[in-house]
Symmetry: D2
Subunit: 357 residues, 4 copies
């Protein structure tokens, strides 16, 4: 929020709306975010349903009286909170995207390495026909790629500055300058009550979680005692408090513990789109914690998924052995799986080509 107030001040100086001297005085205080009394601001935030009122009050108190009228010039609380949320989201997305990309790369490595590792394809939780573990990993790769591109698109096209003033009638020049400085989109209109940007961000995060949750579910199923085709490889994990023989799929469980919490949060964001008039009473405020949770849960899920995939142990022998069960059940393809996997290999190549190209 301090960064947004500073950018606003600079843009107003550039537009001639704030005298240079006043701008400097305000920016001098804003240059030291740590100097603000966070405890007092937090304590007072509740009385205004926003932390911006006490923040601006403190900022005004700390500049000389002649500069006070230029503090927070022409802005409304929501301008500051929304723009700050965009900056926070962009920083958080940096970590999310890094980990998701690394998870995708790990899938690509598995797909390439296990192009010829045959295993039993399973449908409705039953062994069905042969496939390869490479194809399974290529499927994971492709499923991550869509929301990953989506999040990159959100950063580039959806994260926008907000500077419409109290009822959204502020001329757009100041917003334009701020957008350029902050590297955010300059929106066609203020988006005080048009929350598609927030929903786009939240739904894409949850879509990534959906892809990661599918991977974690697959790993936890393939790591079952009776299946034993995969195993989490990271050291020092998964000991049980009561059963020393067990090795739990800690990373997969942690991914699922995060991903399963995101659909309901997206529902909250979607329901919050119904915002009244120029700025809303409740629906906007309900977004704050919800968006924070979505960023944090997706970040955790991506980090755990990366860890899971980069350390995954594949038991090709066990995959082959399980496939023999199918052969014994009379499934001809299972007896000579390699002959039936030309399509799988072609699809792996397509997936890898799509990811690399």
């Amino acid at each position: 929020m301090v960064e947004v107030e500073a950018t606003l001040t600079r843009a107003c100086v550039a537009e001639g709306l704030i005298p240079a001297e006043s701008g400097e005085a305000i920016l001098a205080v804003l240059a030291d975010p740590a100097s603000f009394d966070l405890g007092a601001i937090t304590a007072e935030a509740g009385n205004h349903a926003t932390p911006v009122v006490p923040l601006v009050r403190e900022l005004r108190a700390r500049v000389a009286p002649e500069h006070r009228e230029y503090v927070h010039l022409g802005a409304t609380s929501q301008d500051i909170v929304d723009t700050a949320a965009m900056l926070v989201a962009r920083r958080a997305l940096g970590f999310v995207i890094d980990d998701a990309r690394a998870a995708a790369r790990a899938c690509a490595v598995l797909a390439a390495e296990h192009r010829d590792t045959v295993m039993s394809g399973r449908t409705l939780l039953q062994q069905a026909l042969p496939t390869s573990f490479g194809l399974r990993a290529a499927g994971w790769l492709t499923a991550i790629s869509t929301p990953l591109k989506g999040l990159e698109g959100v950063v580039t096209f959806a994260l926008a500055v907000q500077m419409g003033g109290p009822v959204g009638t502020r001329p757009p020049a100041v917003a334009g300058l701020m957008a350029a400085e902050l590297g955010l989109i300059d929106p066609v209109m203020p988006w005080h009550t048009d929350r598609s940007r927030i929903v786009d961000l939240g739904a894409t995060l949850a879509m990534l979680c959906g892809a990661l949750g599918k991977i974690a579910r697959d790993v936890s199923l393939l790591a079952q005692t009776e299946v034993a085709e995969l195993r989490e490889g990271a050291e020092g994990r998964g000991g049980s408090s009561a059963m020393p023989h067990k090795r739990n799929s800690v990373a997969a469980v942690s991914v699922l513990a995060c991903t399963r919490r995101t659909p309901g949060l997206v529902a909250t964001l979607l329901a919050s789109m119904e915002q009244e008039h120029e700025r809303a009473a409740g629906a906007w405020q309900a977004e704050w914690g919800t968006l924070g949770e979505l960023l944090s849960l997706t970040g955790s899920a991506a980090a755990w998924a990366r860890d899971l995939l980069e350390n995954l142990e594949v038991d090709a022998g066990r995959m082959r052995a399980n496939l023999d069960t199918l052969a014994k059940a009379g499934v001809a393809e299972a007896a000579s799986p390699a002959e039936h996997l030309a399509g799988a290999t072609e699809l792996i190549d397509r997936a890898l080509g799509d990811f690399n190209g």
Copy 2:
């Protein structure tokens, strides 16, 4: 589903997988969808958790024995249902997009006509500062535009053929031919358990509902007895069973009755992304009715919103009168609103330019 089976048959003939004569025999039966015994297929669908098994059984029974092995060649039930769902979605989206576009056009007309119609901007449900009704309508326009472009993008980039075979290992050639014939995307990989396409569609539908719900909420608030700035204009609507003096905002209420049901449905689709192995046991099947509801509710919401916006009655005098309340409360801008609305006018032009350009 019949259309998908026919396209599959033609593609297999083209690829040399089905003899021309068998292809013709199969296509002859498929040429008459109405000839299938829908009651019997429906009754038997439950025993297989899919209607495709009895459909294929009937199809096989109706061709000569020597052609039977070529019916449904290399396909799995999910290939047929998923591709059929894409065709259904595309047809439904045609109506949704038409009505949403008309609603957007109606907003553009309102924005242009009411560029200078001053009214009270309201924040947190309180009168705040002057704005124009044109700017409000421009905001509605911009809010509809994002999901509208999103839906157009879904049609172009997300709706894909599905033809992976039982465990997704089918070589992609047949899918490619089918995609070309059906005008669907040829996916990099089968997407049996990568449900981002469905989520993309569902979330974008709900995002449009969010934008329409905001408009309906605004209209219902501005049509309150004490505010009376807007009024639904369509004839023969809104009579009360008990209170003849009332004129209810039927269209607005109908929009809201639809839009409020969509966030929870998107949560269902997102939760359904966690699909096991090559094809899922339950998560996929939970999508069917959910996606149908989303298409139907969004279609209804868009049709009602179009009706609402095309027939909206604006009482500019009442808007001005309500603004006087604010002026009497000592808000200088409310006494001479036009002087403060240069920014609003500039933003309206941006919104109209963005929509038209």
Copy 3:
């Protein structure tokens, strides 16, 4: 709705609000629900955001002019729809409760029969320590029992008549008489905007679905090819369109396809509690389809779960064989499981006692 109008008419006659002759005339028309023009009522319902307006209009048209003022006396549309919804819910709950009770009984039978059938307990999808299949079934039984009692409580304590009149100020005498006739609760107050009854009903239905979904998930996991401890037993089910060797868990999949759709619907009902003033604009109307879906999905889930449980095939030999895997991993309890299951047997008896007593 016709039944509610008739009950209202009788109560008004009893209270002396409608002359006996007028009451008889109105009731004569209402005695033949099939005589109403459903198509016309449906077509006109949209213009009023309720079917009650055209229903009442038709009813008025069909009685002599001197009786017309007594039709729908003192009622508002919502009175009719809400009371009718309670009647529909009660009828639907009869089926849901019957099937859920039968499912519980089937669990009790399995628990008693398999008191000594040892199997591997599994945690985090890994074999852990011995348990008995009887205890697993007793757990299912207990999990069904809570929402089953909950639904019985909903029928007895939550389903209430609604007859508050247009703004909820109608004296409660008529509602009291109607409640007595219909066997519904006579509420302290009209509940036009107090939707806890609907939420109580919806959340309890979804809680039952949660219990049934857990059972279906367990069965689908224990029926996996590599585990093979359970198998759906119903004849003629689960054939695959492409893989004749497979036997899919059709009932379990069908349960899950229903149960996974309910959490999002409950979110919609909860969000709809925020209803404005005396009667709401949109939030109430959003309940209708949602509640219908919840009843229908829970009814299907309960019927499928009953079928699943009444026909379940248990392979005790395979359970014992899988437990040997654990014994070979050095888990002493797995080598002599019966010695460690005194607690399990005690718990089974508690569960059966609780269910029977």
Copy 4:
């Protein structure tokens, strides 16, 4: 968690499972919760998907070697976390219930004081027919009462000890002793994968939020500039950062900002009921943060609602004046409202009687 381990230790000593001396040694360490290294436990929790493993490890390290085998005797991590969650929930519910009860009392006071304060009843956001503000407040009272009783029932009947051991086969004696000491329910069975208690708690919290959200929505609507019948009364609230003439409904907005986040969280809890086998991989872990959010959001909503209701300013003159609008529109009842409100007064008495009795 420390309290649960201590209670477990005492119960095991009482049952003769732990020697008295070992019990004392373990309890001596547990007597000082602050002595545990929270940072280290937190840091290590991720490696086990539970904080119990490092907690138990530290506890074992701090007792003499001969006592170590008696630490955490026969328990699994979930036993500790679930029982601890029940204790946390009970403490949190104390605050929630206190504030909800105070909010209900404030409604009762308003209902009694404003028994004869006539106002316009509003339906579908339009003025409809007269009612009294007392009846509105009585409706709020009744709506709070249901979930309030529900939460009291949850405390008495749903909050249960968990002590089933690794796979739920532990004999129930220890759980019984712990339940008696902790004042929790002794469950029929371990509920490791029967999560109806959690859902019951969560859904009842959200139902209370629904009732509070309805009140906040009503207040924010009745406080609109053009309506002005209600006004938040607390001092020092609601100043705007940009518009000094405004007085925002801060408490109402804060209630809504909390209540609107709860439906999606309940959906997460309901979806989490589908738990595998004896203890789940992901679904259980997804509950933790979700339940915490529900308790915290409902607690905040109840505190804000209490504040709102205890300080509400009612403008009876304005209510009467707005009703005149309706009279001018030709609604006879609005001209002599008192004559039509006998039913309202009767209903207020019923609501107050129900609350007090």
